[in-house]
Symmetry: C2
Subunit: 162 residues, 2 copies
């Protein structure tokens, strides 16, 4: 059975208990969370979110540049007025350089991806500061509160960085 088929089965029990069919499209808590795609992080459980609360934007690393399109839509069309960036300990983005991954992709596919940045980082806390600053300084992003955290995959806790 594919994982997709397992999702279909699991979804049936979610549907049987579903009571959130009348939520509004704009996030009730007017916040966009930018957080890593890492499998170990459950943003809803760890940050106290429920359906309808927040836009949750996830990508490899929780990088701001990669989230810009989504944040513009979130703010300009759907009214969010706060951004929270969350990176985490033991992140895969700490384990490689752009040149490492470009080499792997070229070796495995034959395609040259030297123009491509995979947005890795070598300093976790600095990566949070960089991404908070990116949002604070980007002229396409509203002047709203932006804060940054590190999530600890060993303890489930978040620590404020900026």
């Amino acid at each position: 059975m594919s994982v997709a088929q397992e999702f279909e089965q699991a979804n049936q029990s979610y549907v049987s208990q579903f009571t959130k069919g009348d939520l509004a499209l704009p996030p009730a808590r007017k916040v966009a969370v930018v957080i890593c795609m890492d499998a170990r992080i459950d943003p809803a459980a760890s940050l106290g979110l429920t359906e309808g609360d927040a836009h949750v934007i996830r990508n490899a690393g929780g990088r701001a540049t990669d989230a810009l399109r989504s944040v513009i839509i979130s703010q300009r069309l759907l009214g969010t007025r706060e951004i929270v960036v969350v990176h985490h300990t033991d992140c895969g983005m700490l384990t490689f350089t752009d040149n490492d991954l470009r080499g792997i992709v070229k070796k495995e596919t034959g395609h040259n991806v030297d123009h491509f940045s995979f947005l890795p980082f070598s300093d976790l806390e600095q990566s949070v500061r960089d991404d908070v600053e990116f949002f604070k300084n980007n002229p396409l992003v509203l002047d709203v509160p932006v804060s940054g955290y590190v999530y600890d995959v060993k303890t489930g806790s978040i620590k404020k960085i900026e």
Copy 2:
């Protein structure tokens, strides 16, 4: 109190019950889910995911092109071997065109963003097919099972499209 401060408070109760401190970095179920950032969707609850299971990539619309960097990292470095795309009913991406949003951003910021695509769509099921095809045909993406669903925000159910 900012929403970020509310997250800090909510996180304390998550930490007090946290038992998942020894999970591996690679996703246990070897799947990457590409799903919209919409506030009404809880991917973990609605698809039966728990911490450690899956990469969850979220952006406005759950668009494939925007997820490519993350999917490459997910597959080449962290071993996922299946992709599940999930778009949803009542999506904000159905409510505007690129020119609409370019006009709003230019009016509100003074910056010309005519080079920018916000990746809206006018046909929900076709958008799922398009994004499944994008992954199936992209030479940088592994030849793995890719399926596509529509999530119904009124019922919590997923429907297979492709």
